[in-house]
Symmetry: C2
Subunit: 377 residues, 2 copies
């Protein structure tokens, strides 16, 4: 591997720079409204500092795959995806009543804690939630603002727009399907996989890649066009496998699944120092993961009782978490997850073989398979 | 007045058509994800049916004021503002825990009530709030999607973009300032006026007008441009008063204030059948309006106690509401509000005098002053 695998260090630096310049502009806009708006900048800047820039990296390599040059504009356009992701995280944390995010208090918790002077104690929680909903809304609007202010040519932006549109609808839909599974107690592998498809595989990998490729002049088929009338989405990915956007799908979907399964495992077996999340977090939040669904499918009655006792228990102890980990291992769910990851990784890698993309991109995307699915984060 | 004052009937018809076509497209997109997404379409279509289309109307007349022709594209672009507004309403209702909107249950209440089969009873409320947050997010993304799919020329869209950007940041900021006033118990006329400036005057009138004008080639000064570096907003409205965008400000800001003050009055003294809101709603929600701030400034200790007793009382009776109405009248706050409305209406009307806009637009904007501030809604 090169000394900067997949150019990630450079991408992170450039994306951080683009975000910083953008937030400087927003600071001026908000300061003109009033100084009491400035906590937004502080909180958002903090949140944006923590990202791994995975979506911008895939966007960048989608662009390069389709022959785009290394220019400042692509980093700015790719950075817009970090604003979208930050918006989703802020709203997700409100919905889940999560305490932490990226190793810090969640945005709604920060605002509950820093109520303005004279604040009424009993309203701290609803103030925090309200502020976080509004900041998430601003971040979602800013996605669009940065995308269009990236300096990309109007025609490029026009080709990318339907991908950005699809991505935003899909992430909201994926979150909703997750919510539905949660309240209906749907624990099936099938339903968990559908959530992974929309919430991760498309949103984190396929669409960012396709956005980059579209900006470089290779938009995917099957999306409602801007000028054309909208029609039901026609899945042509297989047909177009030997095109750049087809490769984005053939590579991105299995890699997205592998990435999420690795995240499922890290969320329960990972080192909290490396993941930035408490080791008991995914268990005490009762996250409906594919890993957990696989365990339920295989569990004995006694093992099921262990899962039911601890999942979603906000007061979970380390001993309880250890019992859950034992069930995941003993049922074979953990091993099955690793097998699925290996198979998906193989599929993603195979999709690059002979694909009509640039050699730089082929090398980087090969490296990104490893980076996105490695055992430690 | 013409038989269709300010062309509102035609604008409403065209905007409804554009929204319907757009939602047909979204139905196909969501159906491709799964049938369990279709309740979104049902709920959103219902919500969108209820709007007065005030923002699209101002956008349309901003376009016409700057010489734009009557084309399908301007209605589609203007209709995007209805999606933005629907997003703000859905999120606002979650934040305020409001029960109703436009005469129907609020979106989060609808989802609490229609939990999917097998739903866990105790989670109905958080399911409803989560679904509403996500639907509001989708509506916010769709704003941008419809704007860019309106069929407007790319150069027109580029000129309008900074106005749309400013509008979205300002509405989120205005809502936040409102929230801050609420938790800090800030009841001053000054702080209520600042909320009105961002949450209504700019958002409902000035920016929609400027968006239309920018689409027609007359963008406002003082907004961070797309290509230019971002600088602190420079208020040049006065200087540019005799330009089209200057007129949007000179006319839009006082009219926006008058419109909100009329809404304050209708929210407490209005006929629930006409306003679509319960007659006690604004009082029991404890809305911090300019009307209420004016009453507090003038109230005796005894009158203040009446206000404190009833404002924000979720169990408010009609008798309690009547006591509050009496205080608003007896302190002179109601009369003061009417005086402010009259003065603002006069200022808005005067701004049209000799302004460099088309005669059609001058006539329509004159009619819109009356429509936006009339005593009955």
């Amino acid at each position: 591997m090169a000394s900067d695998p997949a150019g990630l260090v450079r991408i992170r630096t450039e994306v951080a720079g683009a975000l910083e310049r953008f937030m400087d502009g927003q600071r001026a806009v908000l300061a003109a409204i009033g100084d009491d708006m400035l906590p937004w900048i502080e909180v958002v800047t903090d949140l944006l500092a923590g990202g791994k820039r995975l979506r911008p990296a895939f966007c960048y390599w989608g662009w390069r795959a389709a022959g785009g040059e290394d220019t400042p504009e692509i980093y700015a356009a790719a950075a817009a995806l970090e604003l979208l992701h930050a918006s989703a995280l802020v709203h997700d944390d409100v919905m889940d009543a999560s305490d932490t995010r990226r190793g810090r208090p969640a945005v709604h918790r920060q605002f509950s804690a820093r109520q303005p002077a004279g604040g009424i104690a009993g309203q701290a929680e609803s103030f925090g939630a309200g502020a976080a909903i509004l900041i998430g809304d601003a971040l979602l609007s800013w996605t669009d603002e940065l995308y269009h202010a990236s300096g990309m040519a109007p025609e490029a932006l026009r080709l990318g727009q339907p991908v950005l549109d699809a991505m935003r609808t899909e992430i909201a839909a994926g979150q909703y399907l997750d919510l539905v599974n949660q309240v209906t107690g749907n624990e099936s592998v099938r339903s968990a996989m559908r959530v992974v498809t929309y919430k991760t595989a498309k949103y984190t990998i396929e669409r960012p890649l396709q956005l980059g490729a579209a900006l470089a002049g290779a938009p995917p088929d099957g999306l409602p066009g801007i000028a054309a009338g909208r029609a039901a989405s026609r899945p042509r990915a297989r047909m177009a496998a030997r095109s750049v956007p087809g490769t984005c799908t053939e590579y991105g979907m299995p890699l997205g699944i592998a990435f999420q399964l690795r995240d499922d495992i890290l969320g329960i077996f990972g080192d909290p120092v490396r993941t930035g999340k408490p080791a008991t977090g995914d268990i005490s939040e009762g996250k409906r993961t594919v890993l957990m669904a696989l365990a339920r499918e295989r569990a004995s009655a006694m093992q099921l009782r262990v899962l039911d006792r601890h999942l979603g228990d906000r007061g979970l102890t380390e001993a309880g978490a250890a019992e859950v980990r034992a069930v995941l291992a003993e049922t074979g769910a953990l091993a099955e997850c690793e097998t699925l990851i290996s198979a998906s990784v193989k599929e993603a890698t195979a999709a690059l073989d002979g694909a009509p993309i640039t050699e730089d991109a082929r090398a980087a995307l090969t490296e990104l398979v490893v980076l996105a699915t490695a055992r430690a984060d």
